[in-house]
Subunit: 332 residues, 3 copies
């Protein structure tokens, strides 16, 4: 800590909107250069810039320190709202203490709701489910029979847990016959699942989100997929059936994975990449089609389709020309 | 107007199914050529084709004129259905006049519902929300605390407004720590949001859909994104956090945008394009992988991966061959 | 059948977890090689491997035979749960026999619910809908007015049937004017629709899923699209308005189709392909950007953008070199 040790802050705010009695953080190098511009009372930085006449908090991860400051200054204690009189609950189900169960909630048979759980309006929980302590389920979430949800899990609105995996096989007449989906879903402690996701039950055995997985919105998790601890996944990504994703991976948005592949621990998959083969631990994988001028793209793509021909023509020319096979270096 | 001024129409119909007492429009040049084929009583066209013995309505935008004809002939006056006796509404909330509130609706505390609002079954509205006059919210929509929805807005089923933005940062042990999302969502007047979309609240401050924005289905709008007036967005597109989209843009389906980029006014992004950098106003941007024969695609893609090598080999050959550097022109 | 004709099985299980009194199937050639490893009492195979000392069931399609074994051993007879006392149902609607209508279900006016239908909590059905016999609608599904759903259909949670098609046209001031969507949705017998899909109503006339179509999760079906019998579609795929998909097609995940194109019968579209033009019956189409090392991809893509230039340079070199125009063959 550098500067006035008695400085006080009430709020956490982003760099450009922070003011008096606010703490902020230098999100980018650019912020460090513009340090004079913020009216914040204190700024969290990784390293103190030379000669900055400000109150500075030096932290190895300024964003992490800021996240903790936000939680400290703005987090709200939960006050249990009780159980709505209109709760519909089936035989054999049990309810914990200090609940907030809003109106319009339905719970099936033989399910177990932990302590301090919050179930918002329109939540439907099936039979034989478990919902761990301190878990929050937002409005209109559907949880199918047999789902196992851990403690301190957050599930956002519209998400569907435990619908059938997609598994059909054509019969002799070409009609699709369903493989009954006998598995279930396990979501371990401290996971967060965004809005309008679909986490399918396994065909046999479970589909699993390990402890601390964080999913953004509109994500598809196929049957028997397993996602490792602390992995984060951005919106509109789809995991095919049986994908194995490691721990601490970063999967960006609109990614897709092939069936039954393995993504190693700490791998990074950049946005919009189609993962067709297994990925080594720690690998950084990419592959997308970035926007360019529409007509330029059309011209480039016309050649792309002819790449095998281009390659053959180049080989022919090389044969004719011969000479030094030394690579001329990357002259592009 | 050309033809019989006393011709009457009761219905608006597409070109190929229009019949007697129907008005239609020439959607494509092809329709103009097939003018003799339609049984429609009147056809809206941009320009009268020579010698067409039909009732024609000439309009600068035939599709616009047709849209207005549809609204005129088929639009139905709303009759308020009243407020269901089972409405659950929290303290401090106020309800306007001439409402249609269906059964199974839940409204939190200190929210304000305008006049002539329609709330379908299963709608969940949180605390401190505003819903403007004449807005229609379809079944099973979830609107989180603090959302501000304008007048004449339509929100289709399953859509989630105001769930948390996706913002986590790893701690010293690699566990993901949540940045509390303190912002909210603003949807201005005359917007329409399709089914099963997710419009996240801002981290700080609002996520905003400006007046007249139209979203198709299954669209992700990240925290603190702002979409400008009258911009249209097709299905399965995702906007990363902090994207700034201008006015009157056309964003096609399955597009994705990088964080914190700016898409200028009136820009067009064609389908399935990944927008990695800011886009100038009026630009037309593309970039996707169009379907081709599967085996041809595999062969082309095998070369794609070796493009840096191809380029080096070409440079080497050029060096050996030398000669006239004049571009031989686009001989492809 | 080969082996002990009196062997009995109680369960169907995957190859690697099957044990005593289980039947399994050889999903891959690899399973045939590892035949000695499974503890299953019986294995379904396409062809008996030489010298396998096991109980074998030989079937033309082992997966199909296995699906039937699963259904036989694990399928559960439905017991009707009756109609919840809290059902809200409008005037003119009729209900069949042996229903399971859970709490929190809302049905509009003049709708017809067939026999042995199951409606889970939070299902909202509009006016003038038809739900055929033996159909199952999972929690929080929204079905708009006028939808026609066949018999033995399954609709998973969060799915929206019949929301408006996405059809707007700018007026003289650039404001988007809506084309009222006067059509409806038809889902024929034996279809299954996954979780959080959106099947839009037609602009005029219907959007149609023909008999036996199977949709995975998070799929967009645009207005007036028609999908042919027994076609299967994987997650996060989007069909633009007016797409015509044939019978028995296989459409993989994250595919997108252009408006008004035709995909012929039995066509296969591999994952993440953008279908810009009509596809012939039986064609196998591909086109995606498979993951590769991130930096390698960046280098390849830098050249991709310059392909027209590369192509011109190659042509120039060829002109200079001349010589034998014979294709040197695929020397890559």
């Amino acid at each position: 800590m550098i500067g006035d040790p008695d400085a006080e802050v009430d709020r956490a705010r982003p760099f450009d909107s922070a003011g008096d009695r606010d703490v902020t953080f230098a999100a980018t190098p650019d912020c460090l250069e513009r340090m004079a511009e913020t009216a914040a009372t204190a700024v969290i930085v990784r390293q103190a810039p030379p000669g900055a006449a400000r109150n500075l908090l030096v932290a190895a991860s300024p964003k992490l320190a800021f996240a903790r400051a936000v939680a400290l200054l703005h987090g709200q204690a939960r006050t249990p709202g009780g159980v709505s009189a209109d709760l519909v609950v089936g035989n054999g189900s049990t309810l914990g203490d200090e609940l907030s169960i809003f109106p319009r909630v339905t719970i099936g048979r033989d399910s177990k709701i932990g302590d301090r759980v919050t179930l918002h309006p329109g939540v439907s929980i099936g039979d034989r489910c478990t919902i761990g302590d301190d878990t929050v389920v937002h409005p209109n979430v559907s949880i199918y029979d047999g789902s196992v949800i851990g403690s301190r899990v957050v599930i956002h609105s519209g998400t569907v847990i435990g619908a059938d995996g997609f598994s059909f096989v054509p019969d002799e007449q070409g009609r699709q016959v369903k493989l009954l989906q006998l598995g279930w879903v396990v979501i371990e402690d401290d996971c967060e699942v965004g809005a309008n996701c679909a986490v399918d039950r396994g065909g046999f055995g479970p589909t699993v989100l390990r402890r601390g997985v964080k999913l953004d919105n509109l994500i598809q998790v196929g049957h028997n997929t397993e996602i490792g601890e602390d992995t984060v996944v951005a919106a509109l990504t789809g995991f095919s059936g049986g994908t194995q994703v490691g721990r601490r991976c970063v999967i960006a948005g609109q990614v897709g994975t092939n069936q039954h592949i393995i993504v190693g621990d700490s791998a990074v998959i950049t946005a919009r990449t189609g993962v067709t083969k297994s990925v080594k631990p720690g690998a950084i994988m990419g592959g997308m089609m970035p926007a360019q001028d529409y007509n330029e793209w059309r011209r480039a793509h016309a050649i792309y389709k002819r790449l095998p021909e281009i390659s053959r023509r180049l080989s022919r020319v090389e044969k004719l020309v011969g000479g030094d096979k030394r690579d001329p270096g990357d002259s592009q």
